[in-house]
C-alpha cells in the first residue's frame, strides 16, 4: 500500500467533512467498546492474564532468533517449506515465484495485513494470477478497490448502501439491502472460488515454535476453506508472531477475541501444521511459510521494542477518540489508530509519517485496553522526541519549544512570564471566561471556545496558601 501518512492533517480534516464516513463511524463508535467491556468483566483474572501475556511476548521477542529457528526446524520436519524475506519486495518475489512454479491461476486469500503491507495482490495480478479476497470485509474492499480502514473490521467505513451498489455491479443480481441476504449472496459468489482455487494464501495470527504450527483465527470460516481445499497453502506472516508453546497460544487466545470484538472465543481457531498426510482427501500437498521482516527487526533492542508484542486485536483504535472521528484511511498506511501511529513511522521511516505520533489526545485509553500492555502513549512520546531531535517538526513548533525550554530552566523568568500569560488570557476570556480566538494558535479555538484561566498561576496560589498556613501556625503558637 502506498504510504500517504505525511498528509494526515489534511486527510483527517477531509474525513471530518465526509458525511457518509461520519455516518459509518457513528454506527461503529461504542459497539466494540461496549462488547469488549462486557467480555473482559467476565474474566476475574484479566489483569493477571494480561501481565502473563505481555511477559511471554517479551520473552519470545527477546529470543526471537532461537524461536524462529526452532519453528523452522519443526515446520520443515512436518513437510512445510520455510522462506525468509528481509524486505517487502523479497516477500512478494517469493510468493510470485511459488505461484509461477506451480502454474497457479487462481488464489483464494483470507485476511492478511502483512500482504497489505507488501502489496501482494497487485504483484500476483501483474503476472496473471486471479486473487480473490474471501473475508467478507476484504471482499467488499476488493470490489471497491480500496484499502482496509481497520485491522479487524476492514470495511467498517462502508455503509450497507455502498456495499449493495458494489454487489449489484459485481454479481449482476437484483439489489439487496437486507444484510443477511447480502451476506448469503457473497457466500454463494465466493463458494465457487473456494472450490476451484489452486493456491490459498493466509496470514498467521501466531506461529508456534515447538510444533512448527501456523494458525488462523476467524469467525467466517473462510480461512479454513483457504487452508483446506487448494493444493498449495502459502502462509505469509511477520517474524514477530512467533510464540514458544501451545500453552502460550491458549493464554493469548483468551485475550485476543475479547479485546477485538468482545467475543469469548472466535468461531474458528485453526492450527495448521505441515502438509496432507498419505491417504488424506483434503489439505495441501505443498505448504509454504513466508516469514517477513520488512522493518520489524528495527524495533528489536530499542526503546520501541514493546511494540512487537502487538497481537493485532484493534482495541487501541476502537477506543481512540482520534480514530473514532477520522477513521482508518486518514492514517495513510495499513495500520491505523495508536498502533499504526507507532508502527508506521518505524516501518516506513519517521520522515514519511509526519503527524502520526501527534495524532493522539494522550487520553491513555489505548494503553489501558491493550491486552499485551503496550505503553502506546509513551512510545508515541518517544517518536515525538525523535522527530524534534531530527528537526522534522515545523520551525514554529521547534522555536516555541526552544523558547519554552529556555524559560523553564529559569524559575524567576518562568514565574514572571506565566504570571503575565495567565492575566492576559483571563483578560481575553472576558466576563464569559471563554477565549473565542487565539491569534496564531487557532487550532485551539476553531470549532470550539477555549476556557480562560482564572488569572493567577498555580505558583501564586500555592505560595499564598503556604504563607497563610505559616501565619496561622504562628498565631496558634
Amino acid at each position: 500500500m502506498q504510504v500517504t501518512s505525511m498528509f494526515f492533517k489534511k486527510t483527517a480534516s477531509m474525513k471530518l467533512d465526509d458525511p457518509v464516513l461520519q455516518e459509518s463511524l457513528r454506527k461503529f463508535k461504542g459497539k466494540f467498546v461496549d462488547a469488549r467491556a462486557r467480555a473482559v468483566a467476565e474474566v476475574d483474572a484479566w489483569e493477571t492474564v494480561r501481565s502473563h501475556a505481555a511477559r511471554l511476548r517479551d520473552h519470545a521477542i527477546e529470543n526471537l532468533d532461537a524461536y524462529l529457528v526452532e519453528f523452522e526446524r519443526n515446520a520443515t520436519r512436518r513437510g512445510a517449506t520455510v522462506h525468509w524475506a528481509e524486505t517487502a519486495e523479497e516477500a512478494c518475489e517469493i510468493v510470485v515465484g511459488i505461484a509461477k512454479a506451480n502454474g497457479v491461476r487462481k488464489v483464494t486469500k483470507s485476511k492478511s495485513m502483512v500482504s497489505e503491507e507488501i502489496n501482494l495482490n497487485e504483484r500476483l495480478e501483474a503476472v496473471g494470477v486471479q486473487v480473490v479476497e474471501t473475508d467478507l470485509g476484504e471482499y467488499i474492499l476488493q470490489l471497491a478497490n480500496e484499502p482496509p480502514s481497520h485491522i479487524v473490521a476492514p470495511a467498517v467505513h462502508k455503509t450497507k448502501e455502498q456495499v449493495a451498489d458494489l454487489f449489484v455491479a459485481a454479481h449482476h443480481k437484483p439489489r439487496l439491502t437486507d444484510i443477511a441476504a447480502m451476506t448469503r449472496e457473497a457466500r454463494e459468489a465466493l463458494r465457487e472460488h473456494f472450490l476451484t482455487a489452486d493456491m490459498g494464501i493466509s496470514g498467521s495470527n501466531f506461529v508456534i515454535a515447538e510444533t512448527g504450527t501456523t494458525l488462523t483465527v476467524t469467525n467466517e470460516g473462510n480461512a479454513d476453506l483457504v487452508t483446506t481445499v487448494p493444493r498449495i497453502h502459502c502462509v505469509i506472516t511477520g517474524i514477530e508472531k512467533v510464540i514458544p508453546t501451545l500453552e502460550d497460544f491458549a493464554t493469548l487466545i483468551r485475550l485476543l477475541p475479547r479485546s477485538a470484538t468482545g467475543q469469548s472465543i472466535a468461531n474458528y481457531l485453526t492450527l495448521t501444521t505441515g502438509v496432507k498426510a498419505p491417504g488424506e482427501t483434503d489439505g495441501p500437498e505443498q505448504m509454504h511459510i513466508v516469514l517477513v521482516d520488512a522493518g520489524r527487526t528495527k524495533f528489536v533492542g530499542t526503546d520501541m521494542q514493546a511494540m512487537l508484542r502487538c497481537i493485532r486485536c484493534g482495541a487501541c483504535m476502537n477506543h481512540c477518540p482520534v480514530y473514532q472521528n477520522v477513521g482508518g484511511h486518514a492514517y495513510g498506511w495499513v495500520y491505523p489508530g495508536p498502533m499504526g501511529s507507532v508502527l508506521t513511522p518505524t516501518y516506513v521511516g519517521i520522515e514519511n509519517a509526519g503527524d502520526l505520533p501527534n495524532a493522539a489526545t494522550f487520553c491513555g485509553e489505548c494503553a489501558v485496553v491493550c491486552p499485551v500492555k503496550i505503553p502506546l502513549p509513551d512510545l508515541m512520546r518517544k517518536l515525538r522526541e525523535k522527530q524534534f531531535d531530527r528537526k522534522l517538526r515545523p520551525w514554529g513548533e521547534r522555536l516555541g519549544l526552544a523558547a519554552w525550554s529556555y524559560a523553564a530552566r529559569r524559575p524567576s523568568l518562568y514565574a514572571a512570564l506565566t504570571k503575565f500569560a495567565a492575566r492576559f488570557a483571563a483578560f481575553l476570556g472576558g466576563k464569559e471566561r471563554l477565549i473565542h480566538r487565539l491569534p496564531g494558535l487557532d487550532g485551539w479555538t476553531k470549532g470550539r471556545d477555549m476556557p480562560a484561566p482564572e488569572g493567577r498561576t498555580f505558583r501564586e496560589l500555592y505560595g499564598e496558601r503556604q504563607r497563610r498556613k505559616a501565619s496561622s501556625a504562628d498565631e496558634r503558637r
Binding site: 463458494r191 469467525n219 474458528y268
Partner: protein, 185 residues
C-alpha cells in the same frame, strides 16, 4: 527453551460442573445441544433434529460413524468426504472444551475436515467422557494421545458468522449455518 508453562487460568466463574458450563456456552454461541443415552440412539436423535429444522434426512459422515443404524432412523447416508453439494455433515470430535463451548477436531485420513466445514449443517457427536475444562487440558491430551498436533487441529465454537457489514452479526458466513452437538456418554 520454555517448558510447557501453563498461564494463569481465566477465573471465569464456572458453574458447578463442566457440562452445564459447556451447554451454557454453546447456547451463547448459537450452537444447539441434545443428549443421546447411548451411541446407538444417535441416528434417532439426528433424525428428530433434522425434522425440527425441516432438513432432508440425508447426511454425509465420517466412516467410523457409518456402522450406526441410520437406515432404521430413516436417514440416508453418504459414507465419503463431503463435497460442495452436501447439506448435512456428521462428525465426531477429539474432545470438547467447557470454558468456551468449543469442540476440537483433528484431521486424519478417515476424518476429513471437509465434512465439518462444507455442509450448511454440522452435527458433532461429543462423548461426555471427553469433555475437558480448558484448552490447556486439550493440548495436554493431544501430547498424550497423538504426540503432536496433526495437520489440521481446529477448534469450532458455534456456527460461522460475520459482522463485516455495519457490524451487524449474521450467522452463516462461509462455514456452517448451524452447529448441533449430540452428547453421548
Amino acid at each position: 527453551m520454555r517448558e510447557h508453562e501453563i498461564g494463569p487460568l481465566p477465573g471465569i466463574a464456572l458453574p458447578p460442573d463442566g457440562l452445564t458450563q459447556f451447554r451454557n456456552e454453546c447456547e451463547r454461541l448459537g450452537s444447539t445441544c441434545a443428549e443421546a443415552l447411548r451411541l446407538e440412539d444417535v441416528p434417532r436423535e439426528v433424525a428428530s433434529y433434522l425434522a425440527s429444522k425441516q432438513l432432508e434426512p440425508r447426511v454425509v459422515l465420517w466412516h467410523e460413524l457409518a456402522s450406526l443404524d441410520w437406515a432404521g432412523a430413516g436417514i440416508a447416508i453418504d459414507d465419503r468426504p463431503a463435497n460442495g453439494t452436501d447439506r448435512v455433515g456428521v462428525t465426531g470430535c477429539f474432545c470438547a472444551i467447557a470454558e468456551t463451548g468449543t469442540v476440537l477436531l483433528l484431521s486424519l485420513p478417515s476424518r476429513p475436515k471437509a465434512t465439518a466445514l462444507l455442509p450448511e449443517t454440522h452435527i458433532c457427536i461429543v462423548s461426555k467422557m471427553r469433555l475437558l475444562d480448558t484448552m490447556e487440558e486439550a493440548f495436554a491430551r493431544i501430547r498424550n494421545e497423538v504426540g503432536e498436533p496433526p495437520r489440521a487441529t481446529y477448534f469450532v465454537s458455534g456456527p460461522s458468522r460475520t459482522a463485516d457489514i455495519e457490524q451487524t452479526i449474521v450467522v452463516g458466513a462461509h462455514g456452517p449455518y448451524r452447529v448441533h452437538v449430540v452428547l453421548v456418554p
